[in-house]
Chain length 465, copies 2
């Protein structure tokens, strides 16, 4: 049995790590869960993390790790069960070293994504993982959830960008594996097991991360397409022309543009008649080829093939930023409208267009609502979010919300897709994982959890309910 | 205790899977180990693989999985212990499906790498993993060893190129996880745990693999550099200019060129005076930029910076192939000369030049020998191989061979490098992993092995000795 964090545990902890239990430690951005904590501990070193974990293992007190707190699936709060110790990495926030010539940075878990991105820029490189929440999101959480974002298409997700980790395992052993190697085939891939485990198999305290070269030329365009299907054909064409230099390929629905009109009427949009579907494409190119020429060439070919009907190519960095602002403001507009349900799904690329069509039709049969479908089309990752019909209140849907979400997820799973593409499982989707996960894979996950964390103290209730 | 494969086990196996124990099943390419087998089984379906594994688990007979048999660390043979069942994937050799528009292929474990590469070419895509042994190497083995090769710099190793697996776990459960998704954050990364586990945690029976677009333009050049240090600066320059479009960056030593002269005197080399160091660079570029222009631009910049003194840019596909032939023939020349010891090492990029210098000096103090240092410099992965001095016999070094290898590996490990960059651990390096692996990481590996394979039947002696 796990126990509550108590005074006696506090005496086992290293000096000076205990912090006041500020309310922000117990919150998560969607407000679905209210956290609890008997103690908050903020260690300064990996040794202090190890001492805290050993103390909790001895006292059988659960540990909830906390980074920037921006996770969207409730992995950073523990609303029930034994009162946990909340382990905040906020004081382990240094960039330990940077190797521009290697393309490697060593950052502690509490460093924000923004901080790492700025450190990279400072040496003429880029850390290509980019998220809306990058000012708050911390590297530890980014790795624990294998975060994605807008550049996965070209640079991969957090897992792909991590070469090595320093971590504390659930029995307090420190794993020193902060390698700066592109190739290292020496046994089981414990690094990738910790990445994406959402703090249930140990605490990542630092990581060596890949810095990519900044492309010599880059450009952004926003193109009008007739359908998601046309957008996918355009993606194939773009990939073939750009030699894999498409760094982002984002789908935007007319519904999202209309939500922007409603929520941010001053935001200028490039197309006066709001199109049904837009694509935002960003390319990174070699020296000697202007982005404008490359995007013009793409547009000409795509127009000839009937894939695009209109478009703008940014003529300056400011224009490029303005086009990105449209994409990046959609989540804010969604919050302003107020979603009934959000879905972070992925599908095989060739299933996407049909899924959007079929899911839209299925939902229309069930309820009067609006769908804003947008996101990282190049990765097959959509945010397929449901909103009340115009003039209707959100709570009018309270009785059917769960059923609608379930129907969407069932349709995704039936087509070989995922009900959690980039946000993770957390507490929110643990039951769905238990229901839809492959039984042999789930059994292996449980065996590994029991083997590495026999006391079950690491973030209980997350991933494996 | 594990038992020998016996007649009674044969009766538990599915009908028609038992094969004759041909001598080739018991060999490995370096001839260091002589395998043994009580039975050879070649299943046709994943269900048959599961039935074989369940039978072996019941009879406590060890299983040695076998793909193309090209592995270089003895993972495919079991020279001692209980007589094993050899599980050959040779009959599960189909390409199950190909999705050109998604950039995905589903291949069975027994399909050869060449077969998958040709299937990709057939639909205008590429499977970018390329190895000298690709005509024999099978996908199952490529994944089990997380194989690398010449294009890792741009496309990643086998792990990066795998989206999902179908596998049989050590207690006979079939894991259906053949996803075609670029993003899927639903729990622990069992796929990446099986990849690189060298058959000790289960048998991969099929995989969904990434197909990349073929670059619109591509080109190859061979450039003369003064030193490995200059080569690395050239790599940085090339990466910055090419927006990550450098698909291969291989180092070749003068020693390798002289070995080619000795072994293959008819092979034409581009530089009459054999340079001390060459770089072979390959680039893949977008439409609108000729590879010739891009490589000329790079050469001009690099020459101005004093990094290159001479070079050739291939003017045709044939010339490009000829330049690659020089690189690819070096292992054959090495075999002709006869190595004392080979080392598949990786280092942080900024340590490489100093390592080559220091290791060469250290070895010169210890013995009279020749060093051929070549390989995937862009990945920090060198093949640092030792040969007898001219006129001396290999066996003159028998007494010091192990000590020389140990000294090289110690120097690598002390600089944050790996003693197995791309070949894996197998039996050959299991003791070194036990000695040099991080203790916490090793403990986690052992806990996972015990949890997933409690009977210890899967390729015993490999990775964890």
């Amino acid at each position: 049995m796990l126990n509550d964090a108590t005074e006696s545990l506090a005496r086992l902890l290293p000096q000076g790590v205990v912090r006041e239990i500020a309310p922000a430690y117990l919150e998560e951005p969607r407000g679905r869960y209210k956290g609890r904590a008997g103690l908050v501990a903020a260690p300064r070193t990996v040794e202090e993390v190890a001492a805290i974990i050993r103390a909790c293992a001895e006292a059988r007190v659960p540990i909830v790790p906390r980074g920037g707190g921006t996770g969207l699936v409730g992995g950073q709060v523990m609303p029930d069960g034994a009162m946990p110790l909340l382990l905040s990495l906020e004081r382990m926030n240094r960039v330990r070293a940077i190797y521009p010539e290697e393309g490697v940075i060593l950052a502690e878990a509490g460093a924000t994504l923004q901080q790492v991105r700025e450190a990279a820029s400072g040496v003429g490189r880029q850390f290509p993982l980019a998220l809306a929440s990058q000012g708050s999101a911390q590297i530890g959480g980014v790795l624990a959830t294998n975060a994605g974002g807008v550049n996965v298409l070209r640079y991969g997700n957090a897992r792909t960008l991590c070469l090595g980790v320093e971590a504390v395992l659930p029995q307090g052993q420190v794993m020193h594996d902060l390698k700066r190697l592109r190739k290292d085939n020496t046994g089981y891939d414990i690094r990738d097991l910790l990445i994406g485990a959402e703090g249930t198999l140990g605490i990542i305290t630092a990581a060596s991360l890949v810095l990519a070269p900044v492309p010599a030329e880059s450009g952004v365009a926003m193109l009008v397409v007739e359908s998601p299907e046309a957008a996918l054909t355009l993606l194939s064409l773009a990939q073939a022309r750009m030699a894999g230099g498409v760094t982002a390929f984002e789908l935007i629905a007319g519904q999202g543009l209309r939500f922007l009109d409603a929520a941010f009427p001053d935001l200028r949009q490039p197309f006066a008649d709001r199109p049904d579907w837009l694509v935002l494409i960003e390319v990174g190119l070699p020296a000697g080829l202007s982005a404008d020429d490359a995007l013009e060439g793409l547009f000409t070919d795509a127009a000839e093939a009937g894939l695009v009907s209109d478009g703008v190519i940014a003529q300056s960095g400011q224009q490029a930023a303005d086009l990105w602002t449209i994409r990046e403001t959609i989540p804010d507009a969604n919050r302003h409208i107020g979603a009934i349900a959000s879905h972070d799904i992925s599908l095989p690329l060739s299933e996407i267009a049909r899924f959007i069509h079929d899911a839209t039709a299925m939902l229309a049969d069930r309820a009067d609502l609006r769908i804003n479908c947008f996101g990282h089309l190049g990765d097959g990752n959509l945010h397929f979010n449901l909103f009340p019909a115009a003039g209707k209140a959100r709570n009018a849907y309270d009785g059917i919300r769960t059923g609608l979400s379930r129907a969407v997820h069932e349709m995704v799973v039936a087509r070989g897709g995922s009900f959690s593409a980039e946000h993770g499982v957390g507490r929110l989707k643990a039951a769905e994982l238990g229901e839809w996960g492959d039984p042999a894979r789930l059994a292996a996950m449980r065996a590994i959890k029991d083997a590495l964390d026999p006391a079950g103290i690491m973030n209980p209730g997350v991933i494996l309910a």
